[in-house]
């Protein structure tokens, strides 16, 4: 449960952009900010399930492409006055490799591109 899984290198994610990670039926959006911080959020907007990975990244936030809800990447919370919260996953970056911890998901995951 608590294992870290290597999923990507930082370079595979464009700065101020995102990549989608498919882990079986799960879709995770992996974001990279202007100063190379990485965040992982479930790729579903709390509003109407918009794919957050397709949104515009700014600061430590992303704007959903469907109806412009703005979410904090760090905790998935909508920026007030909007409401709602998306699921976030713990991430760590070591030597430019990105590791994720998939809580509440099937037991073990192996990373590969």
């Amino acid at each position: 449960m608590s294992d870290w899984i290597e999923i990507s290198s930082v370079d595979e994610i464009p700065p101020l952009g995102a990549r989608v990670v498919h882990a079986e039926e799960m879709e995770i959006a992996l974001f990279r900010t202007a100063n190379d911080e990485i965040y992982a959020v479930r790729d579903r907007c709390p509003h109407k399930e918009g794919p957050l990975s397709q949104g515009i990244v700014h600061g430590k936030r992303v704007t959903c492409p469907l109806h412009n809800l703005v979410l904090e990447l760090s905790d998935g919370k909508a920026v007030p006055p909007d409401e709602g919260c998306a699921l976030v996953y713990p991430i760590k970056v070591e030597e430019s490799r990105v590791w994720i911890k998939l809580q509440g998901v099937a037991s073990k995951i192996k990373g590969s591109k």
């Binding site: 899984i5 999923i7 990507s8 595979e12 994610i13 464009p14 700065p15 101020l16 952009g17 990549r19 989608v20 990670v21 498919h22 882990a23 079986e24 879709e27 992996l30 202007a34 109407k48 399930e49 918009g50 794919p51 397709q54 949104g55 515009i56 990244v57 700014h58 600061g59 936030r61 704007t63 492409p65 469907l66 109806h67 412009n68 703005v70 006055p81 998939l102 998901v105 099937a106 037991s107 073990k108 995951i109 192996k110 990373g111 590969s112 591109k113």
Partner: protein, 816 residues
């Protein structure tokens, strides 16, 4: 240690400044507030409805004591500051409390004027300014019957109406021969007087009050000429005077008010001032909208951002008397350089007068039907050229066909559960609740909190109406020069000019140069800046995909379920069997669930997964079909009809002309989407007269039409000119597009752009000045050299561009 900020005056302007400051810099200062009234901050404007019994004191509080606590603000209520010790930088209150400051903000408001006549200090003689006054008046009104209001201006009339509602007999005495003479012309003023008389208020016009009579309590008044009347309550509402005593005592330069510069600083640079107490460029204001603009600028400087400037405000007046609608703004009297259009409908009690100068609104005054007040006001501020719809001006915005305004459906008459914003499903009551419970004042606030009017915007007029009737006159519209978004105070125009003058070529350098207050902008400003860069420096600036909305980044339209649609270009609506076959093959191969003929004479494939896009495109490319840009702020479609080649009425080859225009103009980035059509005769089967650029063939050549719009607010085109040759059509088309690209704001379609700048200017640039037209057209064609690269072709194949955009990272989950 944090710097210390002290605010003197816990009123509307001062506290609004703090709110604006906390929004941008929540932790910069230790803040202390002194207020001489024993309350938190309340909405002074709503004292009138409180006096009329339509609202309670509790309803009008804006910030209670919790708010101060939550924001770590030290609040001293009921303490008047009596001295500013500028040398030691501290203020001293009457009870001896002191507070030192690094920066000081004065917002002491104004005092009501008491006319210097005998008896003005009797019991029962009151002014109308604060909660204390209102409770005093209500106490007397409960016991007594006869009220006299001195002053027939806004405040006096609101007081008179309120006292009438409280069951008193009310007389208003006014020095002038017409009521509200500064806000109304004589016509509107006499209609107002009649309406109020019908409600039982008496008027004594052109009458000066000589003395108030009584020993201890007032019982009457005597006027010049000897007339006396009974009065056991006298409300003086003859004007206000900026409260500058404290500043004067501290030797801060004052004239009528405390004199401030464009950054809201007094002559002592550490001391700022906002609100009714200030005098800016010789103006003193007595309405909240300008004070809120001042507050915003002042907060910008307190936050040490240092770029906002206050340049004065244009105001408008309304009267908060239930059932009496009046509105005035600008110079509504006019003179011999202006012309007026007037409408008067005595039976319905409606009067409207609009004063025009050079086809622009110069002033307006209206009585009875004021629905369009904010529209006229907006056009006055924007100096909109109205020549295109002068005939409809008096009938209002709804007559221009804005579906969102729903004709006669004014906000006040709407039932609570009527849907106002169709896009976001927001009802009237949601908006009213948000305004009252969250203390909202502006359209932007309402958009943020309810989402109403934040999408297609067609309900903006209604939301503005709801704001204005919910708030009364307190509704502060966004200033004319709207900042691009919340990340900056600069406008679209200022940003574009900065890019061009400073030769900036990257988004980051624009943000640095303008000292952006957010790290890397937001979804509103980044696409706009990217566009201004691309259109200013074609060929030099590298497009930033991260500042593109997903559709333009992925070159396909995102759908509600996250899949995409693909619409190839179908030049002028002409297809070959081979192309149809290729589309059909692609639909089969990728299992496309919906194939649709679009409203733009093309074919759309729906429900494709993002990672399938490059393969679909590659197939379509192989049959010669590039991207149709159905997703772009760029050329969309060129609709055509069959024209001369087949049609028995056709006068020119409209189909070939359509194809020619499409081949020339595809791929160009524009402020918004751009649609064209070419019809072969005036029967106009291609609907050219609701397109951004419409061409209609006639016997002698071509008619060129511009600025049409289907969609949310239908607007027919205006005729630009008639030309003879095909080459002229092409040159005008390119020049028009280039002018639009260089002049319109991002996300402004040609219709609103033309309404803003006026046909006169466009004709000057495109028709009267042939050299300029040629130059525009040349600039367009040269930028097309860099723009016309099929984005689909660039993104397919092995060396595909931006492949990471389309393919996910796959991670295997191994279940042990």
């Amino acid at each position: 240690m944090k710097e210390k900020l002290v605010l003197v005056g816990n009123g509307m302007a001062g506290v609004r400044t703090l709110e604006e400051l906390l929004k941008i810099e929540p932790d910069l200062y230790d803040i202390t507030v002194f207020g001489s009234e024993p309350h938190g901050n309340y909405n002074r404007i709503l004292l009138s409805p409180v006096l009329a019994g339509e609202k309670e004191i509790g309803d009008i509080m804006l910030n209670d004591e919790n708010w101060y606590q939550e924001n770590n603000i030290k609040l001293h209520t009921g303490k008047e500051v009596v001295e500013i010790d500028r040398r030691n930088r501290k203020v001293i209150a009457e009870d001896g409390t002191t507070a030192s400051y690094n920066r000081l903000l004065l917002a002491t408001g104004s005092n009501s004027v008491l006319i210097p006549i005998p008896g003005n200090d009797l019991k029962g003689v009151v002014t109308f300014r604060n909660i204390h006054d209102v409770t005093t008046i209500l106490e007397i009104a409960n016991k007594k019957k006869q009220a006299l209001v001195i002053g027939g201006g806004l405040l006096g009339l609101e007081a008179a109406y309120a006292l009438k509602q409280q069951g008193m007999f009310v007389t208003v005495v006014h020095l002038m021969d017409s009521l509200m003479e500064r806000q109304l012309d004589p016509e509107a003023s006499s209609m107002l007087r009649e309406t109020l008389e019908n409600r039982g208020i008496q008027f004594l016009m052109e009458t000066a009050t000589e003395a108030l009579l009584g020993e201890d309590e007032v019982w009457g008044a005597r006027f010049k000429g000897g007339l006396e009347i009974a009065a056991d309550l006298v409300v003086m509402a003859v004007g206000i005077r900026p409260n500058i005593a404290l500043a004067q005592k501290a030797r801060i330069h004052c004239d009528r008010g405390i004199v401030v510069n464009d950054t809201m600083q007094t002559y002592d640079g550490r001391i700022y001032a906002v609100g009714e107490c200030v005098q800016h460029r010789d103006q003193v204001y007595g309405l909240v909208a300008p004070l809120f603009e001042q507050a915003k600028v002042c907060a910008n400087h307190l936050a040490q951002l240092g770029f906002a400037q206050y340049r004065g405000s244009l105001t408008f007046s309304k009267l908060k008397v239930t059932g009496v609608d009046l509105f005035s703004t600008g110079d509504f009297m006019g003179d011999d350089t202006t012309e007026s259009i007037v409408m008067k409908d005595v039976d319905r009690g409606i009067y409207k007068k609009i004063v025009l100068k050079n086809n622009r609104i110069h002033g307006a005054v209206m009585f009875g039907d004021t629905v369009d007040g904010s529209w006229y006001y907006q056009m006055l501020r924007d100096q909109t050229d109205i020549s295109g719809f002068r005939g409809q001006l008096l009938y209002g915005q709804s007559h221009l066909g804005d579906s969102g305004h729903g004709g006669a459906n004014t906000a006040a008459d709407m039932a609570d559960d009527v849907e106002v914003c169709g896009c976001n499903g927001v009802c009237k009551k949601d908006i009213v609740n948000a305004i009252t419970s969250k203390g909202l004042f502006t359209l932007d606030d309402v958009r943020d909190h309810t989402k109403a009017s934040s999408s297609c915007g067609s309900c903006t007029g209604l939301v503005e109406q709801i704001l204005s009737f919910t708030l009364g006159g307190d509704y502060s519209e966004a200033p004319t020069a709207k900042p691009l978004c919340k990340c900056t105070d600069y406008t679209h125009e200022e940003i574009r000019q900065t890019i061009q003058r400073q030769k900036l070529t990257g988004i980051r350098s624009v943000m640095d140069y303008l000292e952006y207050r957010s790290p890397d902008g937001c979804h509103i400003c980044r696409p706009a800046i990217n566009y201004y860069l691309m259109s200013s420096w074609p060929g030099e600036v590298v497009d930033d995909p991260r500042s593109r909305y997903i559709n333009e980044r992925a070159h396909a339209n995102i759908q509600k379920d996250g899949t995409f649609s693909v619409i190839p270009r179908i030049w002028g609506g002409l297809v070959t069997p081979a192309e149809l076959r290729a589309i059909a093959d692609a639909a089969d191969k990728f299992n496309v669930s919906t194939v649709k003929i679009t409203g733009g004479q093309r074919i759309g494939l729906y429900g494709l997964k993002k990672n399938e896009l490059p393969a679909v495109w590659s197939d379509l490319n192989q049959s010669g079909m590039p991207s149709g840009y159905a997703y772009g702020k760029s050329l969309r479609t060129v609709k055509t009809c069959v024209g001369e080649e087949w049609c028995r009425f056709g006068t020119q080859d409209s189909t070939s002309m359509g194809v020619r225009l499409e081949k020339l103009t595809w791929g160009s980035w524009m402020p918004h989407k751009f649609k064209m059509a070419v019809s072969g005769c005036p029967r106009n089967c291609a609907e050219a007269t609701i397109k951004d650029f419409g061409v209609v063939a006639v016997e002698s050549g071509w008619e060129l039409h511009i600025g049409g719009n289907g969609g949310v607010r239908v607007r027919p085109t205006e005729l630009l000119c008639k030309v003879k040759t095909d080459q002229e059509v092409v040159e005008h088309c390119c020049a028009f597009i280039q002018l639009y690209r260089e002049d319109a704001y991002y996300l402004e379609r040609t219709a609103p752009w033309i309404e803003r700048v006026g046909m006169v200017k466009i004709r000057q640039q495109l028709i009267e000045d042939g050299g300029n037209r040629k130059a525009l057209s040349d600039r367009f064609l040269s930028s097309q050299k860099f723009a016309q690269k099929d984005p689909w072709a660039e993104r397919t194949g092995d060396a595909g561009f931006e492949t990471h955009e389309f393919f996910p990272l796959e991670v295997k989950v191994s279940h042990e």
